[in-house]
């Protein structure tokens, strides 16, 4: 084939590719990117739907200034960050344990794997409802068990204590999302060449040494992928807390997405809400960039 035909082939392939991509791209641009830009634009305006007579004047960065001096905003950011840190850490740890258990062959492994997928498949709202009932006071099963075991002398009202209220939240999130982490890590485990372990055993390495020197390093990329997915997902937590605590007591468990939602849909302050939304987005974006760079350094591809 001549260079020319090769080039024209490549050009027609590219044309075809864009044709195939176009519908998806058009949809994404119009319902994801365009709204995002709209949010940015909106955030520079005073737009209170309850007060139509005030119009929608441009106010520059005033909404951002308000957000950055708003203690409730910073508290919500803090809550979200702490929630993300704690739940993701626990999930990765537990997820690894779960992956190791699932990796080995034994009778009934299929059943274990199906069981593990149940929380993943459950709607978050449902999971939150179930966990809320378990922690209801004074009669939820958690209080019943803990008082029976003598851990607590009297039932605790979990949802009126600023720290205790986090317990059901974190537990429910860990319960719901650890299976996903485990499955990603399991896939990572399955890509590790078994002969490596063989060789290590011949060299006299024990199981712990094998784990530290083969499993962990080779699992790093899968770990990172799980970390990205989970962090970004935890950062936008909404349903779980909406149902479990509603952000209370006071605002002790209020994540930033719930705060922004209330600002926009309870008080209809769309301008200020948009500024909050942009700030939430920026953090997500920064996190994603950070991780993608880290992943890039890991070298291409996990498999």
């Amino acid at each position: 084939m001549s260079r020319n035909t090769e080039e024209s082939l490549a050009r027609s392939e590219a044309r075809l590719a864009w044709l195939l991509v176009l519908p998806t791209l058009a949809i994404l641009l119009s319902i994801a990117l365009f709204p995002l830009l709209w949010t940015v634009w909106e955030s520079l305006h005073l737009h209170d739907l309850r007060m139509p007579w005030r119009g929608r004047p441009f106010i520059g960065l005033a909404n951002y200034a308000e957000a950055l001096t708003d203690t409730r905003f910073w508290q919500a950011m803090g809550h979200t960050a702490a929630f993300t840190l704690v739940s993701v850490t626990v999930e990765l740890g537990l997820g690894l344990a779960l992956a190791l258990v699932l990796h080995h062959r034994y009778r009934g492994r299929g059943l274990v794997r199906a069981a593990v997928l149940v929380p993943w498949a459950m709607p978050t709202v449902v999971a939150a409802l179930v966990w809320r009932l378990m922690f209801e006071s004074p009669v939820g099963i958690v209080n019943a068990v803990l008082t029976d075991l003598g851990v607590m002398r009297e039932p605790l009202v979990w949802f009126t204590h600023p720290l205790a209220a986090w317990v059901p939240v974190i537990l429910a999130d860990v319960w719901k999302t650890t299976p996903f982490v485990a499955i990603l890590l399991l896939a990572g485990l399955q890509t590790i060449d078994p002969t490596l372990y063989e060789a290590a055993r011949i060299d006299g390495a024990g199981p712990w040494q094998q784990f530290c020197h083969i499993t962990l390093p080779l699992l790093r990329p899968a770990f990172l992928v799980a970390l990205i997915f989970r962090t970004l997902d935890a950062w936008r937590v909404f349903d779980l807390i909406y149902v479990l605590t509603g952000g209370g007591p006071g605002t002790a468990t209020e994540p930033i997405a719930l705060y922004a939602f209330g600002v926009m849909f309870s008080h209809l302050r769309f301008g200020f809400g948009a500024a909050l939304s942009v700030l939430i987005f920026l953090v997500s974006f920064a996190l994603a960039l950070l991780y993608i760079r880290a992943l890039g350094r890991e070298g291409r591809g996990v498999a």
Partner: protein, 274 residues
């Protein structure tokens, strides 16, 4: 491969994990059959009395089939829209060469990670201007924002795993690209496409924030919204809530039970084969 000691540790760890994972579900299931009066009396592992009242009330008093219908329509339509379009797009990214390929995949992945709350206010204003609030399209359109990139991402993973040889052979035979896709790639990719459809459906079925914001009443509420807004006359009607929760989760349980291998593949296809 494993010695008896190790095996023992593994099995007990497995039992422990399965208990931890299944206990809340089991307990909720039991509670959904327990009379309201016993529900808070003394929690027990076996139902003190087994009744179907909560399920009956769910469908007779609460018309729970309405949210189920809404969820089926919304999740089903979204899936039906996303999968064909997503397949085309994913094929282009997985198999064809063009400038901006990597960036495009990056953008698509980034979109799946968008915090939904950042889109919710402009989408609301847009849908309100189009008079689509509290309609099915008013929920389906926003759902595309996460379902579309999700399907593309998953399908790229699947398509890259397919052997190229058959395709190349067909191309050499002079078949056009699109015919190759139709006759060779599509049949091969069908399991992957089915898995993608299932995952997309599950994600749509479980979505909450958009459905909460863009619907106004029970006639358009989806299952998660209906459950979250359940309120009783006197107290939180836990029995009915849990019955509803079980009904909402039952189809997902079945999917998980019968298609677990597929789902595991789907969850890892996009992520691990990066």
């Amino acid at each position: 491969m494993t010695n008896p000691g190790q095996r023992w540790v593994l099995v007990s760890a497995g039992v422990l994990l399965v208990t931890w994972v299944l206990f809340p579900v089991y307990w909720a299931l039991i509670a959904s059959f327990t009379p309201e009066a016993h529900l808070f009396a003394a929690p027990s592992l076996l139902p003190p009395a087994c009744i179907l009242d909560h399920y009956r009330a769910l469908f007779s008093e609460r018309a729970f089939w309405v949210p189920i219908r809404n969820s089926l329509i919304v999740a089903g339509t979204t899936t039906l829209l996303c999968v064909p379009l997503g397949t085309l797009c994913a094929y282009a990214i997985a198999r064809l060469h063009f400038r901006g390929q990597g960036a495009l995949l990056g953008v698509i992945l980034a979109t799946t990670m968008f915090p939904q709350i950042s889109l919710v206010s402009p989408l609301y204003l847009l849908l309100r201007a189009l008079r689509l609030i509290n309609t099915y399209p008013g929920v389906i359109l926003p759902y595309l924002t996460f379902a579309m990139p999700l399907t593309v991402w998953l399908l790229v993973g699947f398509l890259r795993q397919l052997p190229r040889e058959l395709e190349e052979a067909a191309m050499v035979d002079g078949a056009s690209r699109l015919r190759t896709v139709w006759e060779i790639v599509l049949p091969l990719a069908l399991p992957g496409i089915a898995t993608t459809a299932i995952l997309t459906f599950v994600y749509c079925w479980n979505e909450f924030l958009f459905a909460l914001t863009f619907t106004l009443g029970p006639e358009r509420h989806t299952v998660p919204v209906a459950l979250a807004l359940f309120r009783g006359q006197y107290q939180v009607p836990w029995g009915q809530i849990l019955a509803g929760a079980m009904v909402a989760t039952a189809p997902l349980f079945l999917i998980v039970l019968f298609l677990q291998r597929r789902i595991v593949q789907g969850l890892t296809a996009g992520a691990v084969e990066k």
